[in-house]
């Protein structure tokens, strides 16, 4: 029996392909089984100086980044599988049949960085603090207060959370990187967690140094409750303000990781790719909404017509195309990439007033609304924090509002000063402000920026129907009914079009990771998986 040349060639090709495939198959476990290497310091950066370090009381990402590896939570997002919630200080937890009681069984023999033993009293002290109605806790407190009725220490190693209702977002919220457990004795000694000396946690790293405006350093906690971890000797976070400085550090190999806000823009990513071949550059969502805030408590935006005019005039597609260099989802109140079908279909969103293209109809309508109250147009001051590319974005917003007779002058704030001003309502328009989700959960954005009591409802807008729908969705246990409620809420917000929190779109961007960095997986929010407990550096 003879074999044709073609058949022989095909057989040879198949054999080679098979061998190649086997090679890949055998090579894959070799990579996965790579033995973690101990030692080394991971260098990355904070976009600004945190100033204050109290993770319960502050909201800037830099505060969370500065303290992420120091504290542990009851639960956490799995560093190996970031969408999964796993135990942290709690080794397991149970839920009562009615879903209203969550019992956390704590690890034993855990020590604080100062050698004191950890117990349920610390958990109770932490959550009593965060849930105190008089304590402003814009992240952890804001997400838990609507759900949690009380926290009790059952015994030294057991804590019980009683909920007001069976809330689906409770577990994702308690696992949030903002709900970290602090030591009762440290809170008693310092009153808060702002000082560097108060950074005493149970986490994989100890707080080593904070040089204002320069660097934050952690060092390995040799007594970490998971034996063998962390692999790194330390983490160094340089405080790098401004895109050019951050990019220069990346190009000069001074940082190994860029995986937090602000993302790189495409031009920056391209520049980095030309400068370094030892990095993996990737585009990803960052679970963050680009907002414009109008102050609904002050003229002129206490007038719903003016708010509607801005909502109509903002060209979200142009802002995403130019300010985010195309990396983002314009108009969406919820991003389907992140929360699936809880998000209203994007083709429906694209037809809503303010989002529909071409823009002429909305601009003409907006112009009429402005002229009705201000025949000669009006002058306003627009505030922006000097971080990321906010100043560029602000200029685009100014240019768009000029089309409808709103003339703006820009007032820039240093990062922390901006937050302080916005929190006090000391602004007319915030031209741009990204708001990252604390948890990857559809309720997040509504309880962050739309409901009356939201921590980032800077415009202090209140609409009972928004509150009611958000509350009903939060309490709803049926997934399908929750979805319908969130759809109704999104449709209501889009149709009404006079909210003081104007969603421009969901932010995406470019990031990079040094190829030597192993076992790092980006979290589902920009806040998660910043502890680096399982990260190591290959030689």
């Amino acid at each position: 029996m003879t074999m044709s040349l073609r058949r022989l060639t095909r057989l040879a090709a198949t054999t080679v392909a098979l061998l190649f495939t086997l090679g890949i198959v055998t090579a894959a476990p070799a990579v996965a089984q790579e033995k973690p290497r101990l030692g080394g310091v991971l260098n990355w950066f904070d976009y600004g100086d945190p100033g204050r370090l109290d993770v319960h009381a502050e909201s800037p990402l830099v505060v969370q980044q500065a303290t992420a590896g120091i504290f542990s939570g009851l639960l956490q997002y799995d560093p190996d599988e970031p969408s999964k919630v796993i135990g942290d200080l709690a080794e397991r937890w149970t839920v009562s049949p009615d879903g209203k009681t969550h019992t956390f069984h704590l690890r034993k023999n855990v020590k604080w960085h100062d050698g004191q033993p950890f117990s349920s009293a610390d958990v109770k002290a932490t959550f009593d603090r965060v849930l105190n109605p008089d304590f402003k806790s814009p992240k952890c407190g804001a997400s838990l207060k609507p759900m949690v009725a009380s926290v009790e220490a059952v015994d030294a190693n057991t804590v019980e959370f009683k909920l007001k209702f069976a809330a689906a977002p409770f577990i994702p919220s308690i696992a949030s990187a903002w709900c970290r457990v602090a030591a009762k004795h440290v809170l008693a000694k310092y009153g808060d967690l702002n000082a560097a000396e108060a950074q005493i946690g149970t986490g994989p790293f100890k707080f080593k140094k904070y040089e204002r405006g320069s660097v934050i350093e952690w060092e390995k906690n040799p007594s970490y409750f998971i034996p063998g971890l962390p692999y790194l000797d330390g983490v160094k976070q340089y405080i790098l303000v401004g895109g050019p400085t951050q990019l220069a550090a990346a190009k000069a190999s001074k940082i190994m990781l860029w995986d937090a806000w602000p993302p790189m823009r495409k031009t920056q990513a391209d520049e980095l790719a030309r400068a370094r071949t030892d990095v993996d550059i990737y585009q990803a969502p960052i679970n963050t909404v680009f907002f414009i805030y109008l102050n609904a408590k002050k003229p002129p935006f206490d007038n719903p017509d003016l708010r509607r005019a801005v909502n109509l005039a903002i060209d979200r597609q142009e802002l995403v195309a130019k300010a985010l260099e195309g990396a983002g989802v314009p108009c969406a109140i919820l991003d389907p990439k992140l929360v699936g079908d809880f998000a209203l279909p994007l083709d429906e969103v694209a037809k809503a007033p303010g989002c529909r293209q071409p823009k002429e109809q909305d601009i003409a309508e907006a112009k009429k609304l402005v002229e009705k109250h201000y025949p000669n147009g009006l002058d306003v001051e627009m505030a922006v924090r000097q971080v990321g590319n906010y100043v560029d974005r602000g200029q685009l917003v100014l240019a768009q509002l000029r089309r409808i007779g709103i003339r703006g002058t820009m007032k820039t704030h240093e990062s922390a000063a901006g937050y302080a001003a916005f929190g006090k309502g000391d602004f007319t328009i915030i031209a741009t402000q990204d708001r990252a989700m604390d948890v990857n959960e559809p309720s997040g954005v509504f309880h962050i920026s739309y409901t009356t009591e939201s921590g980032s409802n800077y415009g202090q807008y209140s609409d009972p129907k928004v509150d009611e729908l958000a509350d009903r969705a939060l309490k709803e246990s049926s997934r399908e009914k929750r979805k319908q409620l969130y759809w109704e809420l999104q449709r209501y917000l889009l149709a009404r079009g006079d909210h003081a929190s104007v969603a421009v779109g969901w932010v995406e961007g470019w990031f990079f990771k040094d190829k030597k960095l192993r076992n790092y997986k980006p979290g589902l929010t920009t806040y998660d998986n910043n502890t680096f407990m399982k990260v190591w550096i290959a030689p």
Partner: protein, 279 residues
């Protein structure tokens, strides 16, 4: 007139070149609305378009026509330069002339104030002032006035001291002329040459300070077409869009070069020692 102009061109060719640059700068600033093909703040085009037929200087990161912004930037730079220098140098000149002539405690105390102001590094002082006053074009002018006044006061005072010792001032005093008459009728007019030199040389300084403040984000508001602000945006995309740095940088260099040449030339013409005549 024509002969004087020809004499200036042949006698001071560099000064004439400087004057030409300054003249172009003034014309561009005055005619900006007519010359600029687009609004300086209109972000209506694609970002990072390279220089070409449609956009001779390209577009910036927000899709604004860079040529239009550079043209409007001339207006802003000249406005800041001229207004701040006129106010700052005039105020300083009056201060220096009056206290220099009066002498005594008022002169001593005012010169200590000048010492204090001049001891502060100019950019640091300007930055502090901008931080205190807030970002606006008029606040840049105010900061520059505060920077320029002591230097002008010190320079004009030294000139005034020399003038005050001349026989015609003594004659006026002997004739019973009032102090204000002596200062404004005889002293100040004889300090005018130095004043004019100070004005011309300091306009370029003011333009550079404004550009520097805007470059570090403490000058004109970011959406204003300031050459320094354009440089800041440009360095963020230096490899991708080098034209964003090149054209505003060129504009600053040309303006400063032209004003310096003109200033040097005016100094040469008005300084008797350099003129080779009366000195």
């Amino acid at each position: 007139m024509r002969r004087a102009l020809a004499g200036f061109i042949t006698g001071q060719p560099l000064g004439a070149a400087g004057a030409l640059v300054v003249l172009v700068l003034i014309l561009v600033a005055l005619l900006a609305p007519a010359l600029a093909p687009h609004g300086p703040k209109d972000a209506a085009f694609a970002p990072y378009v390279a220089p070409g037929r449609e956009f001779p200087m390209g577009t910036d990161q927000l899709g604004r026509d860079l040529l239009s912004r550079v043209i409007w930037g001339a207006r802003l730079s000249l406005y800041v330069g001229v207004v701040s220098v006129l106010f700052g140098v005039t105020l300083g000149a009056l201060w220096g002339a009056v206290t220099g002539y009066l002498g005594g405690a008022s002169d001593t105390s005012s010169q200590r104030v000048v010492d204090c102001l001049m001891a502060l590094p100019p950019i640091i002082l300007a930055l502090s002032l901008m931080a205190a006053l807030g970002q606006s074009v008029n606040n840049v002018i105010l900061a520059l006035v505060i920077l320029l006044t002591p230097t002008a006061a010190r320079t004009i005072r030294s000139v005034a001291l020399g003038v005050a010792a001349t026989p015609f001032i003594e004659a006026a005093q002997a004739a019973g002329a009032s102090q204000s008459r002596i200062i404004f009728r005889y002293l100040i007019p004889n300090c005018m040459a130095s004043y004019i030199v100070l004005v011309t040389t300091n306009i370029s300084y003011a333009i550079v300070v404004e550009a520097s403040l805007s470059f570090i984000g403490a000058g004109a508001p970011p959406d204003e077409p300031s050459w320094g602000g354009m440089l800041t945006a440009g360095i963020q995309a230096l490899e991708t869009a080098p034209w964003m740095v090149f054209f505003p940088g060129l504009a600053i260099s040309l303006a400063v070069f032209g004003l310096n040449l003109l200033g040097d030339s005016i100094r040469d013409l008005t300084d008797p020692r350099l003129r080779g005549g009366l000195g």
